[in-house]
């Protein structure tokens, strides 16, 4: 037995409810953190940062946010792109309006502003449920994009409506703008992701998280046992939008450096993040990471294999890439409908029993 929990007893409730109750997992986690913070920054180059790590970290933040709303609280949202746009434009206005304030606070404030917008568009969720709720979030998506496109104040009256991130530093090192070193981008996003994931974990294991899950699993019963649906739904919208706003701000300021609302924060973004959450696993923190990794890495990986190694024409490779991604999604679902996170859990369960089948 390679992987086991026997001999790993818990004496207190607190120990029992820790994030990684099994020692093996815990060790793995510490190693991963050590590598992420201590090793990767020294090895990373522009390509790995811009094509893989930074988008992965940012999408993971967005996926965490959406997972709170959709995975934990059961409210389907297709407004992620729009809320990311709020984060991005808020960050842009703050960056250009208060150039002396540290960018970290801009990013957090952008999240806060997005949270307020999210709550506003979350209001209809009290009456509208299930897929129908998607209409409210889609209204947010399209309206917000339209707004940022139409009102020149948001893009400081630039000719084409593009916004550009000026250079901003943390501890004297640029984290936005053209001269940012790859490792600085990466670390900045990693730190924020770490904080966000930690908050998400705390919220989802406490009473707020249970309220969300109760609403998700059976809203009527939840209300009858004492959950205030208004407060828990809106708090989910707020927290989720806070995260997504942060992701939007980073996406624009750190990753892209320049953005145009319709192109960078269109409906496709909403779908993409939703796919990440579902593929990764609804209601799972790990799933948010897995989903983001899957949808960021797989295309890059496939492209490199098909074009780089096999030398196929780019268009054919792009089409076949789509087919492979589609087929993989379906295959995973058939193997395990509850996402990569559940696949991982079942694998662990099997490992625990190994070498016995049951």
């Amino acid at each position: 037995m390679l992987y086991r929990e026997a001999g790993d007893f818990k004496a207190t409730y607190r120990d029992d409810s820790q994030t990684f109750p099994i020692r093996f997992d815990r060790t793995g986690y510490y190693v991963l953190m050590a590598v992420a913070f201590g090793v990767v920054p020294f090895l990373i180059n522009d390509y790995w940062a811009n094509a893989v790590f930074v988008p992965f970290l940012i999408y993971a933040i967005a996926a965490l946010g959406l997972n709170i709303l959709t995975g934990y609280c059961g409210q389907v949202s297709l407004g992620t792109g729009g809320f990311m746009a709020v984060g991005a434009y808020a960050c842009y206005k703050l960056m250009t309006g208060f150039p002396d304030v540290n960018i970290f606070f801009h990013v957090m404030l952008a999240g806060g502003i997005t949270a307020m917008v999210g709550v506003l568009f979350g209001l209809p969720s009290l009456r509208i449920k299930g897929f129908y709720l998607a209409v409210a979030t889609l209204a947010a998506q399209f309206f917000l994009v339209w707004l940022f496109n139409k009102v020149p104040w948001f893009y400081n009256y630039s000719a084409s409506g593009q916004i550009n991130a000026p250079e901003r530093t943390v501890f004297g090192i640029a984290v936005t703008g053209a001269n940012t070193p790859a490792w600085a981008k990466y670390l900045f996003c990693l730190v924020i992701l770490f904080i966000v994931a930690w908050i998400a974990r705390n919220l989802t294991r406490g009473s707020i998280g249970r309220q969300w899950m109760a609403i998700r699993d059976m809203d009527i019963a939840a209300e009858i046992i004492g959950v205030n649906p208004l407060r828990s739904k809106l708090s989910a919208f707020a927290v989720s939008s806070f995260f997504i706003g942060i992701a939007g701000a980073l996406f624009f300021a750190v990753y892209l450096g320049a953005a145009e609302v319709g192109e960078s924060f269109g409906i496709n973004k909403s779908f993409l993040v939703l796919f990440m959450v579902i593929i990764g696993g609804l209601g799972s923190i790990f799933g948010s990471f897995a989903g983001a990794a899957f949808l960021v890495l797989l295309p890059v990986f496939l492209k490199n294999v098909l074009v780089g190694m096999l030398g196929w024409p780019t268009d054919l490779a792009a089409h076949i890439e789509l087919m492979i991604i589609g087929a993989l999604i379906v295959t995973f679902l058939i193997l395990e409908p509850h996402g990569l996170a559940q696949l991982w859990r079942v694998t662990k369960e099997k490992l625990r029993l190994w070498p016995f089948p049951h």
Binding site: V76, P124, R127, I128, K129, G130, F131, Y132, A134, V135, A136, L138, A139, Q141, F142, F143, V145, W146, N149, K150, I220, A221, I224, I267, F271, F275, I278, I279, L282, W312, P313, D315, L316, A318, H319, I320, E321, L322, M323, I324, I325, G326, A327, L328, I329, V330, L333, I334, P337, H338
Partner: protein
């Protein structure tokens, strides 16, 4: 009559027609939702795929030519024949049936009794796959689709209304054809689902896969049936939209225009799709026409959703949707 009123009437008429076109796409969604509770994200791609196949067959394109050429270094593209429109449509319908069978065989069958969100997810995978496959099969360039549907201003209506009101209304002939087709589809599908045994089975499946299985409803049959019909509806939508704009990737995005229609009408209602379409069509056109110039235009996308949202706040299950059962 005052000018503004005439314009308003013209815009309303055109809004109605546009609504019919949205409804055609929404109809496909409704069918599949009704029969399995699946929100079929792939419906738009299905329309694209159908249209691509239709054009490909019509023009005698060699399917997978690009792939074949890339692998074997050949240079084949066309068979060199041209298939008449009617025959091509029939062949495409057959292809869609085949597709339905494959979808059942490789996707749905393995996902019986899963939650809606998971089935939704599967259709996302399907959408990716079909999008890639459509491109590999027929190429990603823009293609002209012509099955002989007349286009352009209808002279008869222009003349008639000119004589009657002193202002000739603009109505696109294509829209008139689309309306006729949509009405036929809606009526026959409504009759089918409301009054036939299969129709009842369809609704039963949507409610509870397991219970449906337990009374001997063959999910396979029901699913192949509905996906075939949905494929056919997608073909019709693909023809109408493809005739307007050529067949290319963006065709799959019309699904986004169908979403508010669907929600407003109710996911489960076939007549709802058409009524929803009409309301959205008229609403967004009037708003864009009169309010658009004041606030910068391009309002149609969000306005359609806001309109649907307003309706939903009062009727959370859509205008004609089945009431969401809330009981403990």
């Amino acid at each position: 009559m005052p000018e503004t009123l005439l314009y308003a009437i013209e815009v309303t008429l055109n809004g109605l027609m546009a609504g019919v076109l949205y409804a055609l796409v929404a109809l496909g969604f409704v069918l599949i939702f009704k029969a399995s509770g699946i929100f079929n994200y792939a419906q738009g791609v299905l329309a694209l795929f159908a249209a691509l196949t239709l054009v490909g067959i019509q023009n005698g394109q060699v399917p997978f030519a690009h792939l074949i050429n890339a692998i074997f270094g050949t240079s084949i593209h066309h068979f060199g024949w041209h298939v008449p429109a009617v025959l091509a449509i029939l062949l495409t319908a057959l292809v869609m049936v085949g597709l339905a069978i494959l979808v059942e065989r490789f996707v749905l069958k393995h996902l019986v009794n899963q939650e809606p969100i998971i089935l939704f997810m599967a259709t996302i995978g399907l959408a990716y796959f079909l999008e890639g496959m459509g491109d590999v099969m027929w190429g990603a360039d823009i293609k002209k689709l012509d099955v002989g549907i007349p286009q352009g201003m209808s002279g008869a209506i222009d003349d008639f209304t000119y004589n009657a009101f002193g202002y000739g209304f603009f109505i696109d002939q294509l829209d008139i054809v689309a309306t006729v087709v949509a009405v036929i589809l809606v009526v026959s599908l409504t009759l089918f689902s409301q009054y036939s045994k299969q129709g009842r089975a369809l609704r039963a499946v949507a409610d509870d896969h397991q219970a449906a299985l337990s009374v001997g409803i063959s999910l396979r049959f029901i699913w192949v049936l509905t996906w075939s019909i949905a494929g056919f509806v997608a073909l019709v939508a693909g023809i109408m939209w493809g005739s307007k704009s050529g067949v290319q990737f963006s065709l799959s995005l019309i699904a986004l225009k169908a979403l508010p229609v669907l929600m407003l009408g109710g996911f489960t209602s076939i007549p709802g799709a058409i009524v929803g379409g009409l309301i959205i069509g008229v609403g967004e056109k009037l708003f864009e026409f009169f309010a658009g110039p004041l606030i910068g235009g391009a309002t149609e996308n969000w306005f359609a959703y806001v309109l649907a949202l307003i309706f939903l706040v009062f009727r959370p299950q859509g205008l004609f949707g089945e009431k969401i059962i809330e009981r403990v």
